[in-house]
């Protein structure tokens, strides 16, 4: 998909969100949910702690009647809303601790860490989505071999496929990824399993 088509699709989704189309909302949710949960988890220092916050922020997004100029504008709103909600949660946890006589380290979110987490999440998300957009079987095989560190034989046995099929699907997945992540991005992905 070229950039022009992508921006048209983005524009349609943002317009759909503005006019209250649940399908557009659903697409935006599916695209951003996992990375934002990861982001909230980093801010809270609790990987599972951010999911309710992310849902509340998406409800807020739905209820707002504002329009967003582009996907960066939308993401900026989401990041900032999540940060504010995380701050509220951390503050109330701190108040509870003080009430209970437990000293709580002042570990609210410094601005620089928050902004650096946005940059980090953006990079992680792109790599994650590059893998997520691979076709079904190739994606499973790439995940198992590259991210879970399994051998071709282990994957073949687990997925009840011939070793030949696993190798073919893996090559296919890598070809697609090479097209999406050229240069160091592709090498970085390979380095995750020490194969570069």
């Amino acid at each position: 998909m070229n950039n022009q088509n992508l921006s048209i699709l983005e524009h349609e989704l943002l317009e759909g969100l503005h006019t209250g189309d649940p399908a557009a909302f659903g697409e935006i949710y599916l695209k951003h949910h996992a990375p934002l949960c990861h982001f909230a988890g980093k801010l809270l220092d609790d990987p599972d702690g951010g999911q309710d916050i992310v849902d509340d922020v998406f409800l807020k997004l739905w209820e707002r009647s504002l329009s967003y100029n582009d996907s960066e504008h939308l993401k900026a709103f989401l990041y900032q809303s999540i940060r504010n909600a995380c701050l509220d949660q951390l503050r109330s946890a701190k108040r509870r601790s003080l009430r209970d006589g437990i000293y709580a380290e002042s570990a609210l979110i410094p601005t620089e860490s928050y902004l650096a987490s946005i940059t980090h999440t953006e990079v992680i998300t792109e790599l994650y989505q590059a893998i997520s957009n691979l076709p079904g079987q190739a994606q499973k095989i790439i995940r198992k071999t590259f991210l879970e560190g399994k051998s071709n034989e282990e994957v073949a046995e687990e997925m009840k496929l011939s070793i030949h099929t696993v190798k073919n699907q893996k090559r296919r997945g890598l070809d697609i990824l090479r097209g999406k992540l050229s240069g160091e991005g592709y090498k970085l992905l390979l380095s995750l399993s020490g194969l570069s």
Binding site: A34, P47, Q51, W62, Q80, I118, H120, V123, E184
Partner: protein, 168 residues
């Protein structure tokens, strides 16, 4: 709200990805350099993303969030949203229609009243006489009922004969 800081961080992520993909232009490289020069935290983030800090567990960790299931649970919580643009158009149309009806009724009542006055005026010899009759009607309680159509002539005759009697 322009979310300037957030936009800048998002842009930095895009630049780092471009650099990783070997697609960074000269001006973008300068932009990335400026961002790196802004803070030690930026430089640390950049170094982490370059040097294998990006762990497979982190990427794999994103899979632990079941976005489809979460969306299924969230959808029933969405309040029905009025379609903002068409909603405003409908409100505007309804307001315009209401104003038109009020203006039309106002004109109708005013015309009806004017016609009635013209009829009375032509019957009793002009507006001056009608005003005089109104004056009497307000001053003398016994003439208050005289606007009734079938009493008009009789009452006016009574009024005229009383006036003649006084003048003689």
């Amino acid at each position: 709200m322009d979310y300037q800081r957030e936009r800048e961080s998002i842009r930095a992520g895009q630049l780092i990805l471009k650099e990783l993909n070997g697609e960074l232009s000269v001006s973008e490289r300068a932009e990335l350099k400026r961002w790196l020069g802004k803070s030690p935290v930026n430089r640390r983030t950049y170094a982490n993303l370059q040097s294998g800090e990006l762990r497979s567990e982190e990427l794999e960790g994103l899979r632990n969030y079941d976005s489809t299931e979460s969306l299924r649970n969230l959808l029933p919580r969405l309040s029905p949203k009025p379609k903002s643009r068409s909603y405003k158009i409908y409100v505007g149309l309804a307001a315009a229609l209401l104003i038109s009806i009020i203006v039309a009724i106002g004109f109708y009542l005013r015309n009806q009243h004017t016609n009635q006055e013209m009829q009375l005026s032509s019957k009793y010899g002009g507006a001056g006489q009608l005003r005089q009759e109104r004056h009497h009607r307000h001053c003398l309680p016994e003439y208050r009922q005289e606007v009734h159509p079938d009493r008009e002539g009789r009452n006016l005759r009574r009024h005229r004969s009383a006036a003649d009697h006084r003048s003689s």
